[in-house]
């Protein structure tokens, strides 16, 4: 009887630890630090565009990523071989100020909406635009990856 009771207590202790680990795991994912990780992926992607680091940008995008830009949609391959370069030239000429940024996430999906203002000189023209960005990220074995990003802008004048 003593042995049975001891085993039962031990069983509850082990199962309790197993469940406690699971709860802790979920709590951690809801922590703000998780949001910072998501935002950092987007910032790394933006810097990869500016610095013309195609390989780095590719690593941050999911394989089936879609890039939507002012009425157009491209696959990852199409974007990296085409608009990636012109976007880099444009973004590197701009001063960017983030006006607002909201991060929402669940276990495996996050979506970030960002409103910013960009100002600078591009192709010898003064540019001042308001920009909206909606990015969707998915959690993979290799961390958060950008599943899609949609940019649009309008003149701030």
């Amino acid at each position: 009887m003593k042995t049975f009771l001891s085993s039962l207590i031990l069983l509850f202790m082990i199962s309790g630890t197993a469940f406690a680990q699971h709860e802790h795991h979920d709590d951690k994912k809801m922590h703000t630090a998780g949001d910072e990780e998501i935002v950092q992926v987007l910032e790394n992607f933006r810097m990869a565009i500016i610095n013309n680091e195609q390989e780095k940008a590719s690593e941050l995008l999911a394989e089936d990523a879609r890039i939507l830009e002012s009425g157009g949609i491209e696959t990852k391959e199409e974007y990296l071989s085409h608009h990636f370069h012109s976007d880099g030239k444009f973004l590197s000429a701009m001063e960017r100020e983030v006006k607002s940024q909201k991060v929402k996430s669940n276990e495996n999906t996050a979506w970030v909406s960002t409103v910013s203002h960009m100002q600078g000189t591009f192709n010898e023209k003064e540019v001042s635009v308001n920009s909206a960005e909606l990015a969707v990220l998915v959690k993979t074995g290799g961390g958060w990856k950008i599943s899609s990003v949609h940019w649009s802008s309008r003149s701030a004048e």
Partner: protein
């Protein structure tokens, strides 16, 4: 012998508990989706598209979550209700026609979330003294969430460019 049986029982039970935990952690939510969810998401988007084409968005709030937000061509429009009251609602009053063509939608499921990408061309015929026709190529990203069994748009971003 009894001791051995209990110990085995203990190990098996503990193993099962850990196994459950691992299954949950590794679960691929995208594989949980089924075609009925994809169709339900498409139905929500189609209802909104139909309302725009009918120039009547008076019964579209139920397609959006209460705290849904809208981006359009570089602008944060606020909540869907703000967008209805201050932008699309009044704007539709000036349209004689609003039609979509070459409409395509792709839906990706992620557990109780869905992301949809719509591509289309649109034609707007403006009435009144300044009557004119506007034709553009457009894309929209919508993030949807299943709430109480119904898919609702929680974030929408639409943008357009001149037709090629």
């Amino acid at each position: 012998m009894k001791k051995l049986t209990l110990t085995l029982c203990l190990i098996l039970t503990a193993g099962l508990l850990y196994g459950q935990d691992k299954d949950h952690g590794d679960h691929d939510h995208s594989k949980m989706s089924n075609s009925s969810d994809v169709e339900a998401v498409k139905k929500v988007l189609k209802s909104y598209k139909n309302a725009l084409e009918a120039l009547d968005v008076s019964d579209t709030q139920h397609l959006f979550a209460e705290n849904a937000t809208v981006f359009e061509n570089g602008k944060y429009e606020g909540s869907y209700q703000d967008y209805l009251d201050n932008h699309i609602g009044p704007e539709l009053g000036h349209f004689e026609e609003f039609t979509f063509s070459d409409y395509e939608v792709q839906v990706r499921m992620e557990g109780d979330m869905a992301v949809a990408y719509e591509t289309y061309n649109y034609k707007i015929v403006l009435g009144g003294e300044n009557s004119r026709t506007v034709e553009r190529q457009a894309v929209a990203t919508s993030v949807l969430k299943k709430m109480d069994g119904n898919w609702k748009i929680i974030q929408n971003h639409g943008s357009s460019r001149a037709l090629k």
